[in-house]
Subunit: 211 residues, 2 copies
């Protein structure tokens, strides 16, 4: 990673996937160049915020010419590490876990699920979209052999803290947390992204009031 990228704030990083999503869509619509103003109005941001965010990574925009959509897509893929293909394991192959394995486009994010883990005897031994479900008892053995980067948590909230500790001991590098237990990085010691379904539902409720 470049020195330049070291001090990028968490808020900027959180916006990069949105930039990537909008720019991929523009590329699909055969748009070659876009001004910060146009991009801003599509994304509900200000042009100056976009210029500021992208300048954290060295710019890419030319005054008066806007941004090259293709260059930005490629740069964002490099910055986000999409090309490096992370390996993921999924813990908890219940309804949500299976829905992710079956429907979520991991490869869009440069992530490859390699195994799932569960405790239920009727689930262990199955496979979803070719991903085998192992017993939770085999987590450490599996990790010492296969070494995944990311753990996706779809387990009951009550067992989340101890499971997170167990994962960190196996050498996991990051946790993608779908449970209602909020994990704090300062306690766990690796990067964590908590998925908050409620944030978007609340934003929707707010906007319905307007109607």
């Amino acid at each position: 990673m470049d020195h330049q990228q070291k001090n990028v704030s968490k808020a900027v990083v959180a916006r990069l996937p949105r930039y990537y999503r909008y720019l991929r869509r523009l590329a699909a619509e055969d748009v070659n160049r876009i001004s910060s103003k146009d991009l801003a109005s599509r994304m509900g941001l200000t042009a100056s915020q976009i210029r500021q965010d992208l300048s954290c990574f060295g710019g890419f925009g030319q005054q008066g010419y806007g941004y090259s959509v293709e260059t930005l897509v490629i740069e964002l893929e490099r910055i986000l590490g999409i090309a490096s293909s992370r390996r993921a394991i999924l813990l908890g192959a219940g309804n949500l876990g299976r829905a992710l394995l079956r429907n979520f486009n991991f490869s869009y994010c440069g992530v490859r699920p390699i195994a799932a883990f569960d405790v239920a005897p009727d689930v262990v031994g199955n496979a979803y979209r070719g991903i085998p479900v192992h017993s939770m008892d085999d987590l450490e053995t599996f990790m010492s052999r296969e070494m995944a980067d990311i753990a996706v948590l779809c387990i009951p909230g009550a067992i989340v803290p101890q499971t997170a500790e167990r994962l960190v001991k196996t050498g996991i590098k990051g946790i993608w947390n779908f449970t209602n237990a909020e994990l704090r990085e300062e306690e766990i010691g690796v990067p964590i992204e908590n998925v908050h379904f409620s944030d978007s539902l609340m934003a929707l409720c707010y906007r319905i009031q307007d109607e």
Copy 2:
């Protein structure tokens, strides 16, 4: 809704549920007051952004005294419309739909799921956490009788556009879209929140590079 709230940008609205989440947690930790600086450092924002965001709604902060956590929680509940109890229907009672019905805390957001809809004969007639699954054929009849505010979409991406149109005709006020089909408000005509799992996974991948 107050006149004051009319021109709040989408970006600010998108941050309000995060404020609410952090403030609820502070309240649970018995914190009574918090400065914009402390709140900013917890949330990974700047103090001036927090002051600016909250000033859209009239402020609530006293110079030098910080914000009252309880007052902010109550104000955010009012602003977000959490007290008004929205009625929701869920379309598609597959793995993801069932996981939401079983595990997601709708009431935290002031939303009450009243029914689900599906096409599969072995799913229609079931109930999950007391929520009955009706046939998709009965959507219009149900809506004319019960009138839900929000539709939660967990259906296959291919049928999303026509289903969204169908929902709008029944009078739905907003759509919470979990499918991989991106819905555009300008085409559909009601507020839409697309849930983008990929955004947080990409942010996680980015942050793992740092380690």
